[in-house]
């Protein structure tokens, strides 16, 4: 699923990384625990999280994750956006809960990792 379509399904806003709107993700993982995210081996992963800090962006950078959805109105700070832009990571802010965001994406065919 394309980044732009993820934002559409979640009625959410792409905060940065517009140029990645055609980037396609294959699987999704939802967690607030970055240690768990760092164990993923897959590529083209979408991260859905409620944890909004610079280490969320760093974790994505190290794990080659190119798109993050912040659920439940969590906002990306200017520092997070700067780091995401530098590393070509799309950030999406979504007002839905993590559960609802996951449910909607799962319904449209986004695959889980486990």
């Amino acid at each position: 699923m394309r980044v732009e379509d993820i934002a559409k399904v979640l009625d959410a806003r792409i905060v940065c990384g517009e140029e990645l709107k055609d980037y396609t993700i294959e699987v999704a993982f939802a967690s607030d625990l970055m240690s768990d995210v760092l164990t993923l081996k897959q590529d083209h992963v979408l991260l859905i999280t409620g944890l909004a800090n610079t280490q969320t962006i760093r974790t994505a950078e190290m794990s080659d994750i190119r798109c993050i959805v912040f659920a439940r109105n969590k906002k990306a700070s200017p520092e997070m956006i700067a780091l995401a832009v530098e590393n070509e990571i799309a950030l999406i802010e979504c007002r839905y809960s993590m559960f609802r965001a996951c449910g909607l994406l799962y319904q449209t065919g986004v695959k889980p990792i486990y």
């Binding site: 760092l38 610079t54 280490q55 969320t56 760093r58 190290m62």
Partner: protein, 138 residues
């Protein structure tokens, strides 16, 4: 090639900076993408450990023709029982560290899973040295 990066204990804003630089370096050297990912995940985990547990530290990166060696040397409380620290789920991390999305006791075991070799030596009240090596060809 040899590079060094300083790491401040407790400074979570900067945590990951060194591993980010290492990732850029390995990309410039055209290292295979899957090796880069394993290297920087291990490096980032080790860097976060310094920030989370030590007072200060230095990361030394040595790039050879066939391998990369990264040494994480910190001044800090040290690890009393390395075997226990290696166990998944064991953690002495503070609440602040957990709020950053870490401290679940998965770091050292994840470093071990990603690195081709891992060596830890530690002295209580002095500090810890962690060395990882990554093979560059097969």
């Amino acid at each position: 090639m040899h590079f060094e990066y300083n790491v401040d204990g407790g400074n979570f804003t900067r945590a990951g900076y060194a591993s980010s630089e290492i990732k850029k370096l390995l990309k410039r050297l055209n290292v295979d993408q899957s090796i880069i990912k394993r290297t920087v995940v291990a490096s980032y985990e080790a860097e976060v450990n310094i920030v989370a547990h030590a007072y200060s530290g230095t990361i030394y990166v040595d790039v050879f023709d066939d391998a990369i060696r990264i040494t994480f040397k910190d001044e800090g409380p040290g690890i009393e029982d390395i075997e226990q620290a290696m166990q998944e789920g064991y953690s002495t991390a503070s609440e602040a560290v957990r709020e950053m999305g870490f401290g679940a006791g998965m770091g050292l075991s994840n470093i071990k899973k990603n690195a081709d070799s891992l060596d830890i030596t530690s002295e209580v009240d002095k500090g810890t040295t962690l060395v990882i090596e990554m093979r560059l060809n097969g």
